[in-house]
């Protein structure tokens, strides 16, 4: 019956990530708790004269350390490469690798993967070759002639945002429903939320979900610099990302992937898997306000938080029996732009009322940068780890309090805490808002 299926509990049984701070779960988590930054000068293209010449890049990474056979992924673009490493970690931890009873038609994929990196050198050269300066337009024939010679079939197809799905499906033999969503910075939170509801609905038993993205390329940085969304701080790049600080001046681009294995609880227990945490609620909303601005009252973010909490059966205004606020930690969207951080703070207050000041809320974007479509998945994973270890990662570079931002941002230093219930927010350009609630698994 559908009602039974809709009440199916969903647990996380594996997590993995490839980030600017490293390529395995525990070492990156340690560095986050040590307040380390992954920022440095941008090396993926010559950004020296750009308004923003620094970013948080994934370094020294190779899929050869993860996949069974690199030859079937030979054409993989960076997004697919990051996704493969992260997913292999999650898959291995889940124990599905050695589970002979796995019905691959009941395993699905739902990713928030970004578009691939354009073959910029050949693209620019083709455009210039096809440029008719007098008429100020492209001559299609000259363009095509150059582009046919210069551009590579595989490199072009790998830019499609659904290609990480193809690589992961190939690696793990996944045959169930497979979807990719691309709602800018909210994408992988949304992917996890929708994957969760596919399991709840009974369409699948297992979902591999998360996000992967890099926009550290010439046109990506150009786009965000033109929008004035990136930090243009001079000096030490490790100090550039300053979420919730009064001097914050934009986000710092990161890149990478976070992947999780989610499973129906009955499926996980039947095969003897260890649940790491339980997904308890998901909310999604649209601002429907303006193309570039967030609704000033944080209406959309508040709506997605309220929806996720309601699904988890949590009253945000209530206190628990031991006096704690309704939840223990918020993994903030916390980009470090003026607008986001103040509106997110307003939205949290709107939802939690007087409880808000007692709920620690930090942004790991201060250390890892903004992984764009992959950000939500990585931030969701920090919630799982916070529950596991009873530790909250900090917001680093917090020095000058902003008088309007008066919540507990876990400034500069990690903190130990009793952590049972966390909420993770992601808000995307274009007005999508997504929230997940994750809690300690108890049978």
């Amino acid at each position: 019956m559908s009602t039974t299926k809709n009440n199916r509990r969903v647990v996380v049984t594996g997590i993995g990530w490839v980030t600017p701070l490293g390529h395995d779960v525990d070492s990156v988590w340690k560095r986050l708790l040590n307040s380390e930054s992954g920022m440095g000068p941008t090396t993926r293209f010559d950004a020296r004269t750009f308004p923003t010449s620094f970013s948080a890049e994934v370094r020294n990474y190779s899929i050869a350390n993860f996949v069974k056979d690199t030859s079937v992924h030979a054409s993989a673009g960076l997004n697919s490469q990051f996704a493969l490493g992260a997913a292999c970690q999650a898959w291995r931890q889940s124990g599905l690798d050695g589970f002979a009873g796995l019905n691959r038609r009941r395993v699905g994929l739902y990713l928030g993967a970004g578009e691939g990196v354009i073959d910029f050198d050949n693209y620019a050269a083709s455009n210039i070759a096809g440029w008719n300066a007098e008429e100020r337009k492209i001559d299609g024939v000259r363009w095509a002639e150059h582009a046919h010679r210069a551009m590579d079939r595989m490199r072009e197809v790998e830019q499609e945002p659904n290609m990480p799905l193809a690589h992961l499906a190939r690696e793990f033999g996944i045959r169930g429903p497979a979807l990719n969503c691309l709602t800018a910075c909210a994408a992988s939170t949304q992917a996890i939320g929708e994957a969760f509801s596919l399991i709840q609905r009974g369409d699948t038993d297992v979902m591999l979900s998360g996000g992967t993205h890099t926009m550290i390329h010439l046109l990506g940085v150009t786009g965000f610099n033109r929008l004035t969304a990136l930090s243009t701080s001079k000096g030490d790049p490790t100090k550039a990302s300053r979420p919730f600080d009064a001097t914050r001046d934009g986000f710092v681009m990161g890149e990478g992937s976070g992947m999780i294995v989610m499973e129906a609880l009955d499926h996980a227990l039947a095969r003897g898997a260890t649940p790491l945490a339980e997904v308890a609620g998901y909310g999604s909303s649209a601002d429907a306000f303006r193309i570039t601005d967030i609704h000033p009252e944080g209406r959309g973010g508040a709506a997605s938080m309220a929806m996720a909490l309601a699904q988890a059966g949590i009253d945000p205004h209530a206190r628990r029996a031991d006096g704690r606020a309704a939840i223990d930690y918020i993994s903030a969207h916390g980009t470090g732009t003026k607008e986001n951080d103040s509106i997110e703070t307003r939205g949290v207050k709107r939802v939690f009322g007087t409880n808000a000041k007692d709920i620690p809320m930090s942004s790991i974007k201060s250390m890892m940068g903004h992984l764009i479509a992959a950000a939500g998945a990585v931030e969701f994973m920090t919630c799982v780890l916070a529950i596991r270890d009873g530790m909250l990662p900090p917001t680093i570079n917090y020095g000058t309090p902003d008088p309007d931002l008066d919540l507990d941002y876990v400034p500069n230093k990690a903190r130990s805490a009793k952590v049972d219930i966390c909420l993770s927010n992601s808000f995307g350009f274009g007005g999508q808002n997504d929230t997940l609630v994750v809690k300690r698994f108890t049978a």
């Binding site: 440029w131 492209i138 193309i291 929806m307």
Partner: protein, 441 residues
């Protein structure tokens, strides 16, 4: 508790035949093809110089509310199609929204309206970008990133990036109609709109919204986007002076590629109980959806899964979801591109599902008339299915002369008793989508 039924109350296809279901349906029934030489750029350097562009008089400014005209400056063609489709669908559904009737309260509470729109990989307008890139050339005429970082990029409008983000289709649509419920952008190539409709179905079922604007849109009418179709091996050989209306022959033994059509569609999908409560006209029932992932020998799916096994899985899932058997299906709208390897995949999948009955299931092919509409396909096909169910008529089929063992050869439009229509599509990348649309009772 039984699950909420989802119905379709508004149709907004946008194709080479124009805006709305009427011009599309008439052309399909009369057997007209809109395929013609491409106007928006000189495509004579490509295998196919012809395709299915929107009519020359399509202007999104004519469709949007006056207060929104300025925003059309930051709309890529794909966004224009989605915006035009949504306005058309909302009007067809008789809904008052901020976009169609700003002076009155909305028919449905804004936070109960979701939006799921499939999108392709949107390519930047080359004239605009190159005019900026050309200012940053070194002495040898090559692009100079140093100059670009310092100066060249200033030539681009500050909102440049926002024209090309795939989620901007849904962004504009949600702003125009004030849809504050769950909103998503599915990017799975040709399966995108079908998967979006399925997500709307789930969102309504689980009670997170009562109605959704749902579908997809895509335009490859840009040299870069078009080149990607060429490199993927999709295009038929069709020079400017060839007869494009005869070029696409789905399931024909001699099928030799497709032509690309820009287009898409937005549908209003609604919980049956709220649609009935407001007295809405119900076009059809979205009775089931299914999805799957193919095993691709080459990983990425440029070489499609010839067995059709996974597409058949998606179809079986849609039938199960609808509580129907293969024998209940009266007609099929396949992707039907005329790309031989894709046709073979579809044929094998349908043969697996229908067995001996396959030869008698009429296949409705759209590509000879409007081209292959990529991420927009599923929404257009569902809109056509809705009209076919309400008219109890199959549209005409073009071009295909010989299709062994299939009901797919050229035929005029004819009346037909139709209860359930299956729409199914594979995609480059291996994601498959299927949906069953049923006659409103």
């Amino acid at each position: 508790m039984s699950r909420r039924r989802v119905v379709i109350t508004g149709l907004g296809p946008v194709t080479a035949h124009g805006v709305g279901i009427d011009p599309l349906w008439s052309a399909l029934c009369e057997g007209r093809s809109a395929l013609a030489p491409i106007r928006s750029f000189d495509a004579s350097g490509f295998t196919a110089a012809c395709g299915g562009e929107l009519p020359a008089d399509f202007d999104v400014k004519d469709l949007v509310p006056k207060s929104y005209r300025k925003a059309t400056k930051v709309m890529a063609r794909d966004i224009e199609i989605a915006v035009g489709g949504a306005l058309t669908a909302v009007r067809d559904a008789g809904l008052a929204t901020r976009g169609t009737d700003p002076d009155n309260p909305p028919t449905i509470r804004p936070d109960r309206v979701g939006c799921h729109i499939g999108a392709g990989l949107i390519a930047a307008e080359l004239d605009e970008l190159t005019s900026a890139l050309a200012t940053s050339r070194d002495a040898a005429g090559k692009f100079d990133p140093g100059h670009w970082g310092q100066q060249g990029m200033q030539e681009l409008t500050p909102l440049w990036l926002l024209k090309y983000l795939p989620n901007m289709l849904a962004c504009h649509v949600t702003i125009i109609h004030d849809c504050q419920g769950p909103s998503n952008t599915i990017t799975c190539n040709e399966a995108s709109s079908g998967l979006s409709l399925a997500e709307s179905q789930r969102v309504i079922e689980r009670g997170a919204a009562d109605a959704c604007l749902s579908g997809g849109a895509d335009s490859k009418m840009n040299p870069m986007a078009y080149l990607r179709q060429e490199l993927a091996g999709r295009l038929a050989n069709c020079a400017k002076d060839a007869d494009a209306t005869k070029a696409v022959r789905p399931f024909d033994a001699a099928a030799a590629g497709t032509l690309i059509g820009e287009g898409g569609g937005i549908l209003v999908v609604e919980a049956e109980e709220t649609a009935k409560a407001r007295g809405a006209r119900i076009h059809a029932v979205l009775s089931g959806t299914g999805a799957s992932q193919s095993w691709c020998e080459d990983t990425v799916g440029l070489v499609p899964d010839a067995s059709g096994e996974s597409l058949a899985d998606a179809i079986h899932a849609a039938l199960r979801d609808a509580g129907l058997a293969p024998s209940d299906i009266d007609a099929v709208i396949p992707f039907g591109s005329g790309v031989a390897a894709l046709d073979a995949l579809e044929k094998n999948a349908l043969a697996r599902v229908f067995g001996a009955e396959f030869a008698t299931k009429p296949l409705v092919t759209l590509a000879p008339s409007i081209g292959t509409t990529c991420a927009g396909f599923g929404a257009i096909a569902v809109a056509v299915a809705c009209r076919a169910l309400s008219e109890q008529r199959l549209p005409a089929r073009l071009n295909t002369a010989k299709a062994d063992g299939l009901d797919a050869t050229a035929a005029p439009s004819a009346p037909r008793s139709l209860r359930h229509i299956l729409i199914a599509t594979p995609s480059l990348g291996g994601q498959n989508s299927a949906a069953v649309v049923s006659r409103a009772s």
